[in-house]
């Protein structure tokens, strides 16, 4: 029996066979071209963004990222308020969604009766298919008045000594954006974590129960085993929160002022692009917005890469767990 029968055929064997069957070679090349196409598109996006942003890069250099002055009239452009807004809204979303998402996932995977688990999972996955404009409308017309009249005044009067909860309750603002984002990224966290927990070997759970753990201790062992994958799920969710545009634009209040308060309006990188690109009439304004797009693209790329590396490092390359992320 030939050695290649068990593994992928060696390059020489593939070539030899390809030359015998010309259609096969053409087929392989075609699929290869498809795969290459993805890289070409990604590279073109970076190239076009960099080209479009070059006037702003030349004009401001690194100051673009640390200046908080965004004045289209005077043509001073600094992206700091938007970097800050993106970090704050996404951070808040993770803070709210991670505990909720992990708890839900553990319940669904380990504790819920089968029927309940299926129904709840279905509903949570349905959340992922709701268009972001619908979340925006909900955040604007339902959540914002509720925050303004009930939640924010309460937070202000009880926790008002913390800068996070100071200021006038507008309803719309960072808190609204963070909550809407948290709901939007919840399905990613829940469904991935649930899959990961279900994929962990049952023997782990059974072994720790056999050693005398309580049920919650045994679940902790399972969650611990799935930890790197869960981290991956959280990072994918972060990726969605960073780039979310429409819903955030509708509820964040859109001002370029940096404020520590969750009640204050702000803006994110994607929201300022959505707001200003169509009417950006000067070359520098347009270039600055494109530079923000470039930075956002690179940040999400870095976040994803960092996530993958973390997972790889945490698992020591164990593909069975890491692969699911």
């Amino acid at each position: 029996m030939r050695k290649e029968a068990f593994g992928p055929p060696s390059v020489s064997a593939r070539k030899a066979r390809a030359s015998r069957i010309p259609w096969d070679a053409a087929y392989q090349n075609l699929l290869g071209a498809f795969a290459l196409f993805v890289f070409v598109v990604a590279a073109l996006i970076v190239y076009e963004c960099a080209r479009g942003a070059s006037p702003a890069v030349l004009a401001y250099g690194w100051r673009f990222l640390v200046s908080s002055d965004w004045d289209p009239v005077a043509e001073h452009f600094g992206a700091l308020p938007y970097l800050f807004g993106t970090a704050m809204s996404s951070g808040l979303a993770l803070l709210l969604a991670v505990p909720l998402g992990l708890g839900t996932a553990v319940f669904l995977a380990e504790l819920a009766p089968k029927g309940v688990g299926k129904v709840v999972s279905f509903v949570i996955e349905a959340l992922a298919s709701i268009p972001s404009i619908v979340y925006g409308i909900w955040g604007f017309f339902v959540l914002a008045p509720f925050l303004r009249t009930a939640i924010e005044p309460w937070l202000g009067s009880h926790l008002g000594f913390i800068p996070l909860f100071q200021g006038f309750p507008f309803g719309i603002g960072m808190l609204d954006a963070g909550i809407v984002l948290a709901i939007m990224i919840l399905p990613t966290i829940v469904s991935l974590t649930r899959e990961l927990l279900l994929a962990t070997p049952r023997s782990l759970l059974e072994a720790s129960l056999a050693l005398g753990s309580t049920r919650s201790e045994a679940i902790a062992v399972v969650v611990d085993a799935a930890r790197p994958g869960i981290l991956g799920a959280v990072i994918l969710a972060l990726g969605r929160a960073l780039g979310e545009t429409m819903a955030v634009t509708m509820v964040i209040g859109n001002t370029n002022r940096i404020s520590l308060s969750l009640f204050a309006p702000g803006a994110t990188m994607s929201s300022v692009i959505a707001n200003e690109l169509t009417e950006a009439t000067t070359a520098l304004h347009q270039a600055s917005l494109i530079e923000i797009a470039l930075v956002l693209f690179l940040v999400t790329l870095l976040v994803n890469a960092a996530g993958r590396l973390l997972v790889l490092w945490a698992t020591g390359g164990r593909r069975d767990v890491a692969g699911a992320a």
């Binding site: 289209p72 509708m250 803006a267």
Partner: protein, 354 residues
Amino acid sequence: MIRVSRRATEWMAGLVAISTLAAMAPGCRAQSLTGAGATFPYPIYSKWFDVYHQKTGVTINYQSIGSGAGIQQVKAGTVDFGASDAALSDDKLRDMPRPVIHFPTVGGAVVLAYNLPDLKGRLQLTPDVVTGIFMGKIPTWNDKRIASINPGVELPGSPILPVHRSDGSGTTNIFTMYLSSVSSEWKNTIGYNTAVSWPAGVGGKGNEGVAGLVRQQPGSVGYVELAYAKQNKLPYALLKNKAGNFVDPTLASVTEAIEGASDRLAKDVRTPIVNSAKGGAYPICGLTYLLVYRDSKDTAKAKALAEFIQWAIHDGQDMAESLDYAKLPAAVVKVDDANLMKLTSNGKPLLASR
């Protein structure tokens, strides 16, 4: 064989005859024009394009992608005309590959919509108060600067929340141009543009975003287009004009404002019309423009476009008011007419004088 070929010949002859007829009859050869730009005049433009198509067969495709993008498209030469709520500055005109002519088509006003649920009657505002509110310098509604111009009206002690547009917009351009013309402080620290660095308040996306915020938040005041406020039944303020009268923004008071600026418009059609000196003029208003290259290569297209503009500024004006746009006063129509005569194709005038 012979029969078949004879039949084929007949067919061919028929086809040739039909196509010749089609080419000869000018009415049958429908022109198709493309334009892009401002979103504000889109309702009236699409109405005009529709009516004009039924009348003449000329098809006009218009993409309302925003004034900024429209200007870019004109510059790139990808459209036959552009549309913008803000006139091009001298710098931007120089940037264009060839001379561009502005044609004002209709006027619009920007009103201050407010949410004061317990207020009886209409709120009255002055230029100083509007500037103060949007600079964040007037903290509450019962501030004496507001109370003194609203005698006999009980104003609440609640904080004022100014609401502005978050997206770049011709509406913002008109509003900030007005603030710049009434306040040197605003002019020097903020200025005017389709997007500015707002010193206070929150931003909503689009007219509907601003209106939504105003409707939700008691104590808020925001600027929206007159048409939008009317159609959505938002209360909006009377504003003191240059002549010292408190004026209700109506289509008539906008047309009067445009009329007041017609002498200056005759010299340069791009002149801002905010803060008109006429007695009954509402001060925050602007014109929306079509941008057309003065000379173009394609004579048939250029002629069709010139004829359309001529129709729009005369017959088309009657449709404006039903869609809440202010008509051009006769003096400005005259300016447009004179500019139409300047349009040429390969150096030859397109229209015979009317």
